[in-house]
Amino acid sequence: MNDQPGPGAKVLTYGFLGLFAVATVLPFLYMISLSLQSEAQTMAATPVVIPSSPRWHNYVDIWKLAPFARFFANSVIVAGAITLSHLFFDPLAGYVFAKYEFPLKHVIFVLILGTLMIPFFVRMIPLYVMMSDFGWLNSYQALIVPFLMSAYGIFLMRQFIQPLPNDLIDAARLDGASEFRIYWNIVLPQTKPALATLGLLTFVFQFNEFIWPLIIVNTTTMRTLTIGLTLFNQENFVQWQYTAAGAIILFVPSLVFFLITQRYFVRGIALSGMK
């Protein structure tokens, strides 16, 4: 469909796209506006669109109303630890499936891929009971350990590593290098783009994770940003200007990552869809 459309079609196309683009952006803009309003303005009968005297101070006040700094730190720690773990373990398994032959290889691979079909809610109660038995409730371990690896990451790395040429690997073997050194010094450096994609996706996903931290954590100091913000909203639902400010704060890391990696993200999703 690459021939030039007539002028009428062009108007319609831009019109619809413009409409949807506005529909997607407007709520975000409104949130920013809301975060700069006073409580009275957020509830005024005539809605305030652009506050005349923006209350930038809301962004300062919010840190005092709830320990948002702690929430933010928790989110970063948990998401960061999980991402690092993924980046260490997923490529290792992906490499094995890509470059080694061994009995039951196909069966194990299918089993691991099969875990992608398991909905989280089926695991959530048993995982909770397990964490409780370990004495890990309300702890960083409980937030991190159940997510150390993923079949998605392993699959991604395997697909990326498979087409890599074997010559360097074989040469290193002849030279007597240990298998792990081959993996670490030869294979891994060649997977940087895939590692970057995996790292980004994992971090953003884990940063925004909601159900698990909700179940596992029951003290304020251990809450992650997503839960902290939600609870704050439920307790102080009238103070929408602060909830909006909090939402913007939660939004910033994702936005930064997205802008940096826009191309990887969209292409990565498109590629995964084509299978």
């Binding site: 469909m1 690459n2 030039q4 831009y14 796209l17 949807f20 683009a21 997607t24 952006v25 709520p27 975000f28 809301l34 957020t42 509830m43 009968a45 005539t46 809605p47 290792l92 398994a93 094995v96 080694y100 032959e101 061994f102 290889k105 691991i112 875990t115 079909m117 398991i118 909905p119 809610f121 089926v122 695991r123 959530m124 109660i125 048993p126 009971v129 397990m130 350990v145 159940p146 690896m149 298998e179 993996y183 953003v204 925004n208 909601f210 159900i211 939600t230 909203n233 929408w240 909830t243 909006a244 939402a247 939004f251 994702s254 969209v266 999703i269 498109a270 869809g273 084509m274 299978k275």
Partner: protein, 306 residues
């Protein structure tokens, strides 16, 4: 070992070398794979077994054995039936909406346009935002009293609605919010699918005098079938599991109008502390999802092959 050394490896030597190498490979592979094997066994397969085990018990610590009673109770519970119905509506509504809108946007974007990348990024924006933010945003916008939608309607003298606290509007509202969030994702997938269709097909058909609608019906749609299948399978699976909408936006109400299934599981387990019953509910949904997915894939494959 032969007594006469030869330049070329003798059969037995070859075999031994080959099996030696193969064994070494296998050992290394398993050692490297060990962490993954332990991890998946411990955090995926064991929990599933445990879930089933828990579902056969009742009581505060799920330690009283009741066999399949939980399952029977669940199937007879009107609240479970209502929840299932609401969830089914939600899943179909969001998936169909995502496909229609995502495909529409992709078709619009699949042309030489100025600002194409800008549009694509803007439309993808909601998807890369945490759903928690999306939920809070819309919870505010649609709030009956302080939400900007109603306030604007009031300004213009138009009728207001209770939206999220209205029995008729709550479910459509969260369906709409979910579509708003997910349409960028399906759009990107359809864009990739569209770009995989060779231009020659269109050129040949146009030479034969086909109009836009025929092009769409007979070339675009059929060749998009794999993408459409993927989007609908993923769409159904994920929407059946959605939880944040009832938890953050509506609390499952009003009057259970938006009490999605996983929310009901969550409430039974962590609200009413009946882990056994909640486990049974979870397991039932798991079976449904498995069956649906297999069915969709079978049907889809048959359609595509044809």
């Amino acid at each position: 070992m032969s007594s006469v050394p030869s330049a070329y490896p003798v059969n037995s030597q070859l075999r031994r070398a080959r099996t030696g190498l193969a064994t070494r490979q296998a050992v290394v592979a398993y050692v490297f794979l060990a962490p993954a094997l332990v991890y998946f066994a411990l955090f995926f397969f064991y929990p599933i077994a445990k879930e089933f085990w828990l579902s056969l018990h009742t009581g505060q610590n799920a330690d009283v054995f009741t066999g399949l009673d939980n399952y029977l109770d669940a199937l007879r519970d009107p609240r479970v039936r209502h929840s299932s119905w609401v969830t089914a509506l939600f899943a179909v509504g969001t998936t169909v909406g995502n496909i229609v809108i995502g495909l529409g946007l992709a078709l619009l974007l699949d042309r030489p346009l100025r600002g194409r990348v800008v549009f694509r990024s803007l439309l993808f924006f909601p998807y890369m935002t945490s759903f928690v933010i999306v939920a809070l945003m819309w919870k505010n916008i649609l709030d009956p009293y302080v939400g900007i939608l109603n306030r604007l309607l009031l300004e213009f003298g138009l009728p207001q609605q209770y939206w999220l606290t209205s029995y008729t509007w709550a479910l459509p509202a969260i369906i709409g919010i979910t579509i708003w969030h997910g349409m960028g994702y399906t759009m990107v997938l359809f864009l990739a699918g569209l770009q995989g269709i060779p231009q020659d097909y269109y050129d040949a058909a146009k030479v034969d005098g086909a109009d836009s609608w025929s092009l769409f019906r007979h070339i675009t749609l059929p060749l998009l079938a794999p993408t459409t299948l993927f989007v609908s399978v993923i769409g159904i699976i994920t929407s059946l599991q959605d939880f944040a909408q009832p938890y953050i936006i509506t609390g499952g109400g009003p009057a259970d109008a938006t009490r999605l299934y996983v929310y009901h599981v969550f409430e039974s387990g962590f609200g009413q502390l009946d882990f056994g019953y909640a486990s049974a509910l979870a397991f039932l949904m798991f079976l449904v999802i498995l069956v649906l997915t297999v069915a969709q894939l079978r049907l889809g494959r048959r359609g595509i092959e044809y």
